[in-house]
Symmetry: C2
């Protein structure tokens, strides 16, 4: 498996080797669940709503008593009292009677509909005129219309959103069993790499990749742990990788850009564990490495930060989601935009191209950022990226393309 793999082969390999590396579960408070992955299914422990409720302000009635009523011939009903918000209603509504009820109030016994306040008239002496008929069940939400006791609301593996915390609160769920967040060890390697807050001397470059990988890991919902920078020395590399393999769930290395540095990284992984793949037919990101040390998945990222970004999105993000047991049912939402420039064929490699987006009269245009190795320009101007599939002939100026948001 050490030849250059296609993207599909690389994904299959990741799945084959690491598809079962689940990191475990933990119980957390409801307030903290957004963006976490459910490690249990959620079953309703009660009916929602718990009682028959009015959905409007008005009068609870027998629907049959309102049939045929109109502005000219209103139905006359006797008002026998009112429902109080937040209190159980003890009133019983007989035929010919009505009960004043607020939105959300409990429907009185035997009433089967609510007429809106707007179509009623107070005739005094406890008499109310109804000027428009209602059907049975109208303006009422019945007990367990929304959810019934024992119904499965969410299945295991779902990543929870803002709305889900609302639904769980409605069910009275106070604690939730979620997947643990994998601890991701991050190490930058390369003799030329210095910490990003140090001014590089000639020949040196700042460590951008571990900053970028940390932020990416956080975005996926896992926990980054930084192991600094290591030079291309086999002994030091092996010592550092061994420590990461003991202390973390996953190992992310970002390689030096030279052949020598890449070799040192590969040798070290081979010495400690196994290299499964070295080289993927993707642009940018060819010199990517997948391996395993001490039972921990390992990804060796390319040196160029733009390549790191795409390789992360393409392979590392799904790996981490898989380790949390996440079941992904939808692709990410896209921008549909018109290309400002032709993108040539990519000669058998899957290609990712950063684009900047501009809105003009409600239409989006996508401007490909093709700078040679211009990292900062690519990152600062990019709003998203487009995927050029392996066998694609490229795109022409004016084509509509799908842009995945950064």
């Amino acid at each position: 498996m050490l030849h250059v793999a296609s993207c599909e082969q690389a994904k299959e390999l990741l799945n084959l080797k690491f598809g079962n590396r689940y990191v475990g579960k933990e119980q957390i408070a409801l307030a903290d669940v957004v963006n976490r992955v459910l490690a249990q299914s959620i079953v309703a422990k009660e009916d929602v709503p718990g009682f028959d409720r009015s959905t409007v302000d008005g009068f609870a009635v027998h629907a049959a008593d309102t049939f045929g009523s109109s502005e000219s011939i209103p139905a006359l009903l006797r008002n026998i009292g009112e429902v109080t918000m937040g209190k159980s209603c003890e009133l019983k509504c007989e035929r010919g009677e009505c009960v004043a009820i607020p939105t959300g109030g409990q429907l009185p016994q035997d009433a089967d509909a609510v007429v809106m306040m707007e179509v009623t008239e107070d005739y005094g002496d406890g008499l109310v005129g109804i000027t428009k008929p209602v059907g049975p069940g109208q303006n009422v939400i019945y007990r367990h219309d929304d959810v019934s006791f024992g119904e499965e609301i969410y299945s295991c593996g779902k990543r929870l959103k803002t709305t889900d915390i609302g639904a769980l609160a409605a069910l009275g769920v106070t604690e939730v069993l979620v997947s643990k967040r994998p601890i991701v060890g991050i190490l930058s390697t390369g003799d030329e790499v210095v910490p990003f807050d140090v001014t590089p001397r000639i020949g040196q470059v700042r460590d951008i990749n571990s900053v970028l990988l940390s932020a990416s890991v956080t975005r996926t919902g896992a926990l980054p742990r930084r192991y600094g920078i290591c030079s291309d020395d086999d002994d030091m590399l092996q010592e550092r990788i061994s420590a990461m393999a003991r202390e973390c769930d996953v190992i992310f290395l970002s390689g030096g850009s030279s052949v020598g540095a890449k070799d040192a990284l590969k040798r070290s992984v081979e010495a400690l564990g196994e290299v499964y793949l070295h080289g993927i037919a993707v642009k940018p990101g060819k010199p990517t490495l997948f391996g395993e040390v001490n039972g921990k998945p390992l990804i060796g990222f390319p040196g160029h930060p733009a390549a790191v970004y795409f390789i992360y999105d393409l392979f590392a993000d799904p790996l981490l989601r898989g380790m949390m047991g996440e079941i992904i049912t939808l692709p990410p939402p896209c921008y549909k935009a018109k290309l400002t420039n032709t993108i040539p064929s990519n000669h058998g490699r899957q290609e990712y191209i950063a684009v900047s987006l501009t809105t003009e009269e409600g239409l989006l245009t996508a401007d490909p950022l093709m700078s040679k190795s211009g990292l900062i320009t690519q990152f600062t101007r990019a709003d998203g990226y487009i995927e050029v599939p392996r066998d694609c002939e490229g795109f022409s100026e004016g084509d509509w393309v799908n842009v995945i948001a950064l």
Copy 2:
């Protein structure tokens, strides 16, 4: 301004009244900047790259020395040494000479191109054969090709993404001036409302809205502060709202669902400050209130959690972003999906309809969740929502619609 406003009027009013409520700035470490809004523009303090670099492994040369070279008649150059990664290169490359160079290495003085290792041959005795010509500048990225000293990289008001932290690290930025996060006081009101972790008695409902609003505020990047639940008592309401106006930057109230509760809320805001608007022609969410107490913007949300979600997205999210000085240049990315059911006209109100999405052979279908007041069902099944504009005749089954992700 107390009639029912259109969505556009409501947005204009928010902008008119609160368009200038900037919350201030703070300096934070680079590691924490993702999702924060820049309160300064970022200007490059150095050239990137800081020196002329090779983008491949190979030999630095004078391009002119390689012209006309081929497999059969290679150009012969004398190898005078090698560039070491991470070190400044002191070598000078004269005509007829070449210097071994790794990817990222500094280009030796006077060399103007790099030939890739793959098109060279080692003839021994320090002689290297070049089998393919290169042009001047080929395989080289020049000093400040990417960014020049003094260039503006980001403008004030930009919300920073994962890639931006990479670009800032590349520029050696260690601290960034960002907008403070507005503190948002959140209060649920209503005699019938009990904390979500309490089992409601008949007639009572759980407080879903403050849980939902907290999570939403966090998602926008502001700081929620919860003030619990208050009954529909004018004195207690006024006391609680006054405290929020002193301690927070914004006040979010979620109203009881009955007319009486709504009146209590409106009376209290009027007693303490001003009500600017009560009622928006939007479904769900009509009984929304905008006001101001003690100079602090106030939004009174409807009682129904689904309405709270949409009103938050439509009005509260832009308000908070505006208070952070965020400049929004793009709409959110969308799903394009085929409707499974007809959605009727909405009679002059802008309408928001939650949908669930299904992927079938690469095509997305959107299933409208039209349940009467089925909150949980709407929230648990929804993947996004569609907007039905005010004057729209509705959508037909099979229409392609834009779905905004939840």
